[in-house]
Every structure is written in C-alpha cells, then in structure tokens.
C-alpha cells in the first residue's frame, strides 16, 4: 500500500513530463503552503508546552552548529570538484545547509502513517536550522571583509512568510495548548494530509519543469543532489544519536539535515548574493533532492536511524 500523497507527487511529475497544462493556481499554492506551515508550527507548539524549554537548549545549540557546519562541507566540493563559481557554490551550499518544510511535512506524514513517533519539538529545530546556513552562504560568497547589508538579510529571513508562519504557529500552539486548538482542528489538522497531497502535486509539476535545466547543467549537479543529502543524513543520524534522541527523532533530524531549502534560502541569496545563478540551486534542490528525499530518502534515513540505534544500542 503506497501512501497516496506520494502518488500525488508522482502524478505531478508525470503530468509535468507530459507537458500538461495542469498547474495549481498561485493563490492556491500560497494557501496550501500557509496551511502546512501553520499546522506544523502549531503541532510543535502544542507539544512544546508540555516540556520545560530549558532542557531543549543543548539540542537547539547542537543543531544550530550542524546548520553552520553542513554548508562548509558542501562549499569546497561545489567550488573545487564541481568547478562552480564562488558565488554559485556558496549559494548552493546554503540551500543544502538549510531545510525544506515540504520535505519535513512529508516526513511527518510518513511517521504518522507508519505509527512512528518522534520528539515533538522537531518543528522548533526546523526553524532553528533554516537560518545558520544562510549566514554561512553569504560569508562564503563575500568573505568577512565584504560589505553585507545584514539588516536587509535579517528582514528577508525573519519577516519572510515561512518563518513568520512557522514561528507564529508555534507560539499559537504553545499558548492555546491541546484543548485550545480543538476548534480549529478540522481545518489545520484533519485536512493536513489532503492539503499535503495537493502541495505535492504542484511540487511534482515543479520538479518536472526542472528537467530541461538539469540536462543543461550536467551530471555533477545530479550526483551532488543525491550524494549531499546522503552525507547530511548520516551527520544528522550521528548527531541525533549523540543527543540521546529516540529512533524517530534521530530519523527526523537526519531528514532535516538531508533536505534542501527552496523558499527561504533562494529569497535571501537573491538579495545578498545576486550574482549567484538561482537556476542552478533551484534545479538541484527542487529537481533532484526534493524528489529523491520524498521518494527514497525518507524511509532510507529512517532505516539508517533504526540500524544505528540497534547497533550502537539506545
């Protein structure tokens, strides 16, 4: 039994490859994204209310460091092996150091479908992981000496739709608590997987539209778009295990590490590293890594986490 949301993704890819005129209207895509972001945020916030925040601080810090470190691995590979220009390598590295909310949503659905559980503060780590890679990317492109409009960058990141809705949902869930949100459950939680299905339909169409640029930019990007998430997921698994997370939490951290941004980071890079070609990074992130993670990666990373815990004990 295949999860129907994956079938929606495949339908999107197929329709896109057949050059169907099918598209989600932009307003609907925005609507669907907003609902997912708010729902994920609220889910996290509700659970967060149940535990003392201070206990999470070490995890938050460790994960933040991972967000700084991952792009530092990606950059030299892209710049020296892949022979990308400095700006392009930095921008792609930032995309892969940050996270994708869409991938996270699919992972949440995957865990639910398979009756698996994970640490409930994962949405918080999602928010935490969005940002460090952006800073690293900018510094990699400009160097420490470069003139960077940090104010603009900060506004772009923190006032961007994604963070506002995720954090806003988190706070709402936190304050309202599990009973508080009962009245809005039908829209935000009961419809979650249906809305996710529509989202994945559009993501499939978008992924398919990247095929022609893939051909243009060649094999290295394809290899990188698969190898990098594999590497990052291993880092995520090790970190999750080291932090004493459950198998589910370890898997989710691996998935976060493996996912590549396609909303927050492109917007920030376009403003702060405009000479980087956005087609390159979006082709890799949306055309290769997102489909790879959704179709193959998520169960794989879960296996990796489970095996690690079994072998090392825990």
């Amino acid at each position: 039994m295949t999860d129907p949301i994956i079938l929606f993704f495949l339908l999107g890819i197929s329709a896109g490859l057949l050059k169907s005129e099918l598209r989600l209207p932009v307003a609907i895509y925005d609507f669907v994204s907003m609902l997912l972001l708010l729902a994920i945020g609220m889910k996290g916030g509700i659970e967060l209310a149940k535990q003392p925040f201070m206990l999470l601080l070490p995890q938050i810090l460790a994960v933040m460091i991972m967000g700084f470190v991952l792009p530092l691995f990606a950059f030299p590979v892209l710049h020296y092996v892949g022979r990308f220009m400095r700006a392009d390598a930095a921008s792609i590295a930032a995309h892969y150091g940050s996270v994708s909310v869409g991938t996270f949503a699919v992972a949440v659905a995957y865990m639910g479908t398979n009756g698996l559980t994970f640490e409930s503060h994962m949405p918080l780590l999602l928010v935490v992981l969005e940002i460090p890679a952006i800073l690293v990317g900018i510094l990699l492109a400009r160097g420490f000496s470069g003139k960077i409009q940090w104010g603009l960058v900060a506004h772009e990141v923190f006032a961007g739709k994604g963070i506002v809705l995720l954090l806003g949902g988190l706070v709402i869930g936190w304050i309202a608590g599990p009973e508080g949100v009962v009245s809005i459950t039908p829209l935000f939680f009961d419809l979650f997987k249906g809305i996710l299905a529509l989202f994945l339909l559009e993501m499939g169409l978008i992924a398919a539209s990247k095929v022609s640029s893939l051909r243009q930019y060649g094999a290295f990007l394809v290899v990188f778009g698969i190898a990098m998430p594999l590497f990052s997921s291993a880092v995520g698994v090790i970190l999750g295990y080291a932090l004493g997370m459950t198998v589910g939490g370890t898997a989710m951290l691996a998935i976060l590490a493996a996912s590549a941004s396609y909303i927050a980071v492109p917007a920030a890079m376009r403003i702060s590293v405009p000479e980087a070609n956005p087609t390159l990074s979006l082709t890799a992130s949306l055309g290769i890594t997102f489909p790879f993670n959704v179709l193959i990666g998520i169960p794989l990373y879960y296996q990796l986490a489970a095996t690690t815990h079994r072998v090392l004990g825990g």
């Binding site: 932009v26 917007a267 376009r270 405009p274 000479e275």
Partner: protein
C-alpha cells in the same frame, strides 16, 4: 485641456525586487508608479509566475524625461548585471501634467 508630454518608463523585472525598486523610484523624484504582475521570457530564461520567486512585475512610471533618465541609469547600474530586467521609455501626453 491642460495637457503636456511626459515620459513613461516601463521596467519589467523579478517580482521580489518590487520594494527595492519602488523605493529607488521614489527617491529619484517620481511621484507615483503602477505595477502589474507578469510572466515572460528573456535572456535569463523563462519566468513563468508559477512561483513567487519566478514571477515578474511590470512597473510603469510617468515622470519627466530627466527623472526617467535617472531611473533608467539607476536600474542599469544596480540591477542589470544580476537580475532579469528590461527597461524601455516612451513619450506620452498626460492629462494631469501638473504633478509630474
């Protein structure tokens, strides 16, 4: 009718630049602008508006030819290199010239 010629300068560019560019335009002395959403194709490829970041806007500014010249220059200097952008100008007759 009190009528006058003015310059209409049209800028077609990436949607996320909306705020930066309109700020530029106002700083250079124009008293207004009109924006429509657009999609298109140019040397930076297809921009098909399916996606916020991949959509275009079309900014029109009615102003004096001097200000139009300044705007065109500023666009060239600040955005041409790195962003999808096309700029063109026309003379038009405006029915409410006192303001431009």
């Amino acid at each position: 009718m009190n009528e006058n010629t003015g310059t209409l300068i049209t800028i077609i560019t990436e949607a996320p630049l909306e705020h930066t560019i309109t700020r530029d335009i106002e700083r250079l002395g124009a008293h207004g602008f009109t924006i429509t959403d657009a999609r298109g194709k140019g040397k930076r490829g297809l921009r098909d508006a399916g996606w916020d970041a991949s959509s275009n806007i079309r900014i029109e500014v009615l102003c004096s030819s001097d200000i139009a010249e300044k705007i065109a220059r500023r666009m060239k200097q600040r955005y041409y290199m790195n962003y999808a952008m096309v700029v063109y100008r026309q003379e038009v007759s405006v029915s409410r010239p006192e303001e431009f």
